[in-house]
């Protein structure tokens, strides 16, 4: 991939089918003096489902937030769908993108949060319809149809007029997934989507995510659900202390971890 990188002015990997959706090159991120990411190199192909696991504080959520520029990286390069995230490169010089340009980049990246973060003052339908209408200025009727179809897809058509506070955690998270999908993103980020849920509600969210994976969505999933990683994941990344310790197919990594830190972590969670 490095040869094609040098050809394009922005050093971008080509976004064609089967190409790279995400490319991270020596990504560093610090909060004050605390370095959370210490050089992350990763590639996610189009249609791939990558699961990221690791102990808390390993930097996996931070890395996810860097991908849609909720956090600014301090060093390295990060591309999504062929675009350098948060910057424009001209020659050797990097220019920060304006807010408007950053927002435009984020439109092709959907994100699902641990605590759902639905808009509590809007109904379920308004939550799903909001961004396409306000941001993409798409006609309301068209968006409403699509939103209802999405709610049906996550099994919640009957909840359209409800407010988020009237829904269970699992239902709220499924609405959050529908809300992200309404922007028709090319990539979906999941930040521990089931960690805040009661155990009996985890399954319904994972089922929706599994269906999404089967439909060919490119997904990066930070999770503690090893069963989901094994079943749905195309690749598994184990992170610890800000570095990628081990990477491979979920079956290999889970069954036969090579690194002692991976072995130690898996022995505790499996």
């Amino acid at each position: 991939m490095s040869s094609s990188l040098s050809k394009e002015p922005a050093g971008a990997p080509a976004p064609e089918s089967g190409g790279l959706m995400v490319k991270a090159e020596k990504v560093h991120k610090s909060f004050g003096r605390l370095e959370v990411l210490k050089g992350i190199d990763l590639e996610v192909r189009q249609g791939e489902v990558m699961c990221v696991v690791g102990p808390s504080g390993s930097g996996k959520s931070t890395f996810l937030r860097c991908i849609n520029h909720l956090e600014k990286i301090n060093a390295g390069r990060l591309w999504v769908n062929g675009h350098l995230v948060g910057y424009r490169q001209q020659g050797e010089k990097l220019y920060e993108l304006r807010d408007r340009e950053v927002s435009a980049q984020r439109r092709e990246i959907g994100m699902v949060f641990q605590r759902f973060n639905l808009f509590p003052h809007k109904t379920v339908l308004e939550n799903v319809m909001g961004a396409p209408v306000w941001v993409k200025k798409q006609p309301k009727n068209e968006v409403r149809e699509r939103a209802l179809a999405l709610l049906e897809r996550v099994g919640l058509s009957d909840k359209a007029p409800s407010y988020p506070s009237q829904l269970s955690g699992g239902q709220q998270q499924r609405v959050a997934i529908a809300r992200a999908l309404a922007m028709e993103p090319a990539l979906m980020l999941f930040d521990e989507p089931t960690s805040a849920l009661d155990p009996e509600l985890v399954g319904e969210v994972l089922d929706v995510m599994k269906q999404l994976a089967l439909d060919g969505m490119t997904m990066i999933v930070v999770t503690h659900e090893m069963g989901f990683a094994r079943e749905v994941g195309d690749s598994l990344v184990f992170m610890d202390e800000g570095v990628v310790v081990e990477e491979g197919t979920p079956r290999d990594v889970l069954a036969n971890p090579q690194h002692p830190r991976t072995q130690d972590f898996l022995s505790k969670v499996l």
Binding site: N68, L70, D99, R100, S103, A104, R106, R107, I109, G110, M111, F113, R115, N117, L118, F119, P120, H121, K122, T123, G130, A131, W134, V135, K136, Y163, P164, S165, Q166, A176, R179, A180, M183
Partner: protein
């Protein structure tokens, strides 16, 4: 539900115990009752209140004009205060240190000096700034006005109240914005919404729930504080009452009449606030939005 049917179903009989007696409450109630009776007796029999005199003036043109001016000033001060206060709150929260310290300095001055003193200064603004002009800062002016002619008593009163109110509203709005979960802004950003959209559609509507109750209090105090613009002087309700008793010497009747008007206005405002609060509590707490009036539960048979 009778005890019999309960027993038939195998349920134990409902408890029927002798309630605890509260003699203290009875004494307190008796004292209050006596005080209320004395007050009513005073209202009916006192000559000092001169209800006839009050009835003569309460809907007179001068008083109605004073009431109108009080209402106008309250509305202007609150609308202007909220708008300017929002700007000051956003400045305060800005990452730019110059903007946030300018806002801090503004609050420091207007919250640190008495409103009455500020209004006295507005009354004499002509001697502070003899002329007002449009032009280049420190350079030539294209047009110049005499402050005395430009700033009428009404404008001086309005500006004085607005600038003071904005300082208090800024803190209320800032607290409201900070009360909204950070995750809301993140979710909005992640969906590609701009900062303005996030603020206008996501953060501020949710902040309103926190902003409205203290703003209602502010509006109530503002309605009463308009009486201070007598310092300018400007003829709102209290000043009008004063003007009337300056010639009739019926001081108490006119002041009580003013109080009745203030009570009517504040009661109307409280009703309005109730509906505003209900509107902005949409989606928060399953019960909060559905319940119109709060149900009070009485202690089981206490005292009877």
């Amino acid at each position: 539900m009778t005890a019999d049917t309960d027993v038939e179903k195998g349920r134990p009989e409902a408890i029927r115990a002798v309630p605890v007696r509260h003699p203290g409450r009875w004494v307190a109630a008796a004292v209050v009752l006596v005080l209320v009776a004395m007050f009513v007796h005073f209202l009916v029999t006192s000559d000092a209140l001169e209800w006839e005199e009050q009835r003569k003036y309460i809907t007179s043109d001068a008083v109605l004009k004073g009431v109108r001016n009080t209402i106008l000033l309250t509305i202007a001060a609150m609308v202007g205060g909220v708008l300017l206060g929002t700007v000051l709150a956003l400045m305060r929260l800005s990452a730019n240190p110059l903007l946030s310290s300018a806002s801090w300095f503004y609050l420091w001055f207007f919250r640190g000096t008495p409103l009455y003193t500020q209004l006295l200064i507005w009354g004499a603004i002509g001697s502070l700034f003899p002329t007002v002009g449009i032009g280049v800062p420190f350079g030539p002016e294209f047009h110049t006005w005499k402050t005395q002619e430009l700033v009428t008593a009404m404008i001086a009163a309005g500006l004085g109240l607005i600038l003071n109110e904005a300082a208090y509203m800024a803190e209320i709005i800032r607290a409201g914005i900070l009360s909204v979960d950070e995750g809301q802004q993140e979710a909005a950003s992640a969906l590609g919404m701009s900062r303005m959209q996030t603020m206008g559609r996501i953060v501020l509507p949710q902040a309103m729930r926190v902003i409205i109750p203290p703003t209602g209090n502010e509006a109530l105090s503002m309605m009463k504080n308009t009486s201070l613009v007598a310092a300018i002087p400007f003829s709102e309700l209290t000043f009008t009452a004063q003007t009337i008793y300056a010639t009739t010497y019926k001081i108490i009747p006119m002041l009580v009449m003013a109080c009745l008007w203030y009570l009517l206005l504040s009661s109307l405002m409280m009703v309005g606030q109730h509906y505003l609060e209900r509107h902005f509590s949409r989606g928060v707490g399953r019960a909060a939005s559905a319940r119109g009036t709060r149900v009070r539960f009485r202690g089981g048979g206490g005292g009877q």
